[in-house]
């Protein structure tokens, strides 16, 4: 009997599941609900239903994404791996020559270097504490001009004229967009400007790890064609297409990790318990700090 592995990617903005059976891939997707465990269970149910496999047949589950650490699936062995490793692993599984991954998610953008022989991460850079250059930026702007992010991407491809959105801060960029609208700039040109603004910031991350081909674009924003075009324009790199919707890369990577099994479990060396040795010191410090 072939082994069956599940990868779950419980992100802050959407949950994805992958069932891997002898190279065959089943997918499931749903919004991340209030309760992460329920979301995970629902994804598994959907995967089982789609594949006609029983729950008891599952060999191993690996979770990734924001909700990864709080999941439990009873008898089925469960481990967790960060989304950074899983994205790399998933992209590598689909396209073994990948060396650089650009991942744009809701709140984080990442540039990841991958070892093409193992699919393991060798370097990564994330955005600093600023949301410029993330999917959130696109989402806010799209909302403010009454479009979905996908529509924003589509329409940007029709741009014929270069206009600029320069503000780093999403909130001020939004007012920039409003003023471009007031100047009668077309939606297409504004959309292109917005994508270019995000691409420039992501390009800065990429230039810190160094960009090597093949480059793959993953994460929630990777479906956006305007974003891809803007990234290609900024980085001058060629992006390869994955054979699977790239937003599943994390879940797929998790499923691959599940198949590698042991890699996924953390051995945590517990810290020494609170020791008497420090008790009196703490009291002295407490005295000086509280009542001077």
């Amino acid at each position: 009997m072939s082994k069956k592995f599940i990868g779950l990617d419980i992100g802050s903005r959407g949950a994805k599941g992958i069932l891997l059976v002898d190279g065959e891939i089943h997918t499931a997707i749903r919004p991340t609900g209030f309760n992460m465990q329920e979301t995970g269970d629902a994804l598994i149910d959907e995967l089982l239903q789609k594949s006609g496999i029983k729950k008891s047949e599952i060999t191993h589950i690996v979770g990734t994404g924001y909700g990864r650490v709080i999941l439990n699936f009873g008898d089925i062995p469960y481990g967790d791996v960060t989304e950074i490793s899983c994205h790399a692993k998933g992209a590598h599984y689909l396209h073994p020559n990948v060396r650089t991954i650009v991942d744009i998610g809701g709140q984080d953008s990442k540039a990841i270097k991958v070892d093409p022989t193992t699919g393991k991460v060798t370097d990564f850079v994330l955005n600093d504490k600023c949301a410029a250059g993330t999917g959130k930026f696109l989402e806010m702007i799209a909302t403010s001009i009454g479009l979905t992010v996908e529509e924003l991407g589509e329409i940007s491809l029709q741009s014929t004229k270069t206009v600029k959105v320069t503000s780093q801060c999403v909130v001020f960029a939004e007012s920039e967009v409003i003023s471009l609208k007031a100047q009668d700039e077309s939606q297409a040109d504004i959309a292109a400007a917005v994508h270019l603004s995000v691409a420039r910031r992501v390009g800065n991350l990429l230039s810190r790890v160094g960009i090597e081909s093949d480059v793959v674009f993953t994460g929630g924003v990777s479906k956006n064609k305007g974003m891809r075009r803007a990234l290609e324009e900024v980085t001058k790199a060629n992006f390869v297409e994955l054979s699977l919707d790239a937003q599943f890369a994390g879940a797929l990577g998790a499923a691959v990790y599940a198949s590698e099994l042991a890699t996924a479990s953390h051995k945590v060396t517990k810290i020494h318990k609170e020791r008497d040795l420090f008790a009196s010191l703490r009291q002295d410090l407490g005295n000086i700090k509280e009542a001077a």
Binding site: I84, K110, L281, L285
Partner: protein, 371 residues
Amino acid sequence: MTQEVVTDKPKRAGYFCIYTPIELITAAGATPIRLFKGGDADTVSSGEVHTRSSFCQFAQHSVGAFREGDPLYTSIDKIYHFNTCDQMKKAVEAIGEFFDVPYQMLCLPREKSRESSRAFMRREVEVFRNDVEGLTGNLVTDERLSEEIVKHNRARLWLKKISELRKRDEPPISGGEFLELVKAFYYLPVEKNLEQFEHFFRHLSAQEDTGERPLRIMISGGIIADGDNRLVDLLEKELGARIVVEDHCTGLRPFYYPISEDKTPLDALSDGYLDTAPCARMKPLTERLDFSEKLAQEYRVDAIVYVSLKFCSCYSISLNSFVKRFQGVGIPVLDISADYSESDLGQLRTRVGAFFELIKKGEKSASTKAA
């Protein structure tokens, strides 16, 4: 042997930066208190009234603690500030202006290799001495000063020796615990610390091994304030790594080099503080990188977590050179941009988690940056 008249309540001299020669404060009969609390978002928000949203949260917290009437802070009689970064300098000016705390600014030259810098530092130390004498009314004699240098050297040495226990495969003291001893150095009388540190050293050095060899981490970068425990707890309590050495100003770094006991005391202090293990604002940057590398090698660290507060110019930009250096040495570096908000624990966990996954895969030559 001491000549000053001890009043009932000694004056309290507050300072932010470890380039302040505290021996002069104790020799004048005042109590030095390092002001390095941080980590509370409400205090930050209060301090922002007198600073700006683009000040680092340590600077905002420092102002906020005065505004909120923190008893330790409001007990300070005078602040001495050796020219640190722009934001802390401006924070001190704001504290002086809006909370009527007297302060004295002193200039710390950056290019310590120039003879002119050294002479200038010597003059600033004199200005400092004269000022603390004015604060307490006690003259600082060379004799008293030499005594204080010896005492503080001994306290620093104990801390260094305790830290060195962490060179063992299984460190008998965690990084979190070491920071508590550091707090004692900055908050408690040196005489008391001398007793306690010796006691700690004997106790910890006798601790038996259980045979574990946890992942060895060096923390490098900007200040880890008293109260800012998230990263240390995540690394040690949640992920089971051990911080074996700190390359920052609230960990081992300031205790690494002693003050000379052979020179005349003012020269010793002036040279000694100028030559302390350098922070990122000092020039040349290579000297700072050399020291970081020395520490990392000495403590045989597996990886480095480099922390800088959001809006900190000095530590955020020197990161690039830091990463370059350790790429050469083959020690991976994770870059964390931090503040005191509570929003990013999940992000922090992912970044540190992915970094650990990368290290454990034996990719020792990889350097990883994330913020």
